[in-house]
Assembly symmetry: C2
Homo-oligomer: 220 residues x 2
């Protein structure tokens, strides 16, 4: 599977994907990295890995430019890894069911327009939630709205700031995103539908949870 990654920032989720998909046996590889910012660290990381990298001069505002670039690279799967620009509807339609996004919270909570970067974590902290997490979902025409493929919970701890919470969730993102991209590649290659990942939800090993809960609360 030929994968294109869109990223606006320093590209740590891109790096996690590059590292995970480096072996020849991986079910996909990153063939193109695009950014709306010419100075994005993601572009540097891509070039260092020998992957074609380009800044979208128009910030991807022109759907034809972005779509043509993706098609010229024969991208079969598109991954938004910290991409802060809206993807034009025509591109979403062309890659429907083949475009993933990672969001640093448990959607549908703390998502939608304006909910990106530290704003997400500040909203979580303001709400008093003791659980946040990461979500990988299919992209549709609405922000953070498409089918959720996998989620993973992360504790919110007393004293957390947006920075400490972001770092804890990012560590999980770096594991969750490559795992989901691999699973999606395998499904597409097998001709299976891309749908919520059954075993991701089972990964909690629920049976172990009450004991750990009690152990943690015993001295609370």
């Amino acid at each position: 599977m030929r994968i294109a990654v869109l990223a606006s920032g320093r590209g740590s989720n891109l790096q996690a994907l590059l590292d995970d998909l480096a072996p020849d046996t991986a079910p996909g590889r990153v063939v193109l990295v695009l950014s709306n910012r010419a100075d994005a660290g993601a572009l540097t990381r891509a070039r260092q890995a020998g992957v074609r990298a380009a800044a979208l001069a128009d910030g991807a505002g022109d759907p034809l430019t972005l779509l043509e670039t993706l098609r010229s690279a024969e991208a079969e799967l598109v991954v938004l890894a910290g991409y802060l620009k809206r993807v034009p509807d025509a591109v979403v339609a062309a890659y429907r069911g083949r475009m993933l996004n990672i969001h640093p919270a448990l959607l549908p909570a703390f998502g939608g327009p304006g909910m990106y970067g530290h704003r997400v974590h500040e909203a979580v902290l303001a709400s008093g939630a003791r659980v946040s997490g990461a979500s990988v979902h299919l992209v549709d025409e609405e922000y953070d709205h498409g089918t959720i493929l996998a989620q993973w919970p992360v504790p919110v701890r007393p004293g957390d700031t947006a920075d400490t919470l972001a770092a804890r969730i990012l560590a999980i993102e770096h594991r969750l995103l490559p795992a989901v991209v691999r699973a999606v590649c395998r499904r597409i290659l097998a001709g299976a539908p891309v749908e919520p990942l059954a075993s991701a939800a089972d990964a909690f090993v629920l049976a172990n949870m009450p004991e750990r809960l009690e152990a943690a609360l015993v001295n609370a």
Copy 2:
């Protein structure tokens, strides 16, 4: 600590509290169970445990009746365990910081007016979330709004119905609610403020999570 429990249904969370607080060494005991329904299983369970039980003739619509009943039992802590009626503001004010509620989702998502019973789980399933859970929070004048004391995540599995998800979350509620009630009793007895439980959030044992995640996704 003398604890009053308000419940509208069959009272399985009440039973979990009665069982957990039965030992003489427990930091609190249930001294009163009230329901807005005379046929609630919770009242039967209370009487079987030798605990004073009463139906609120007016469905707790009269704050004086409820407040006087709580005070006559010298209740120091009030626990809403599946209580579907609104608690009058005067009672909330009289027990501010001393009234807990358990909600079968990860607040602030899937809470608020009308979000009770199966409606909660149907909304979670409709959203596509792969994670739900249980929350224990302090009661204030708004539904499901007060300070969150503890939460625990529960997986949403493909094929789940409101019934199967409710049952999975209820199993966690039966562990979470007594643990939080014990912790809150200990804090009040120690003169400490009732605030979010630090170690509840740490109970995830985050370090173990990525490995389990990968093991679960490897064949997804």
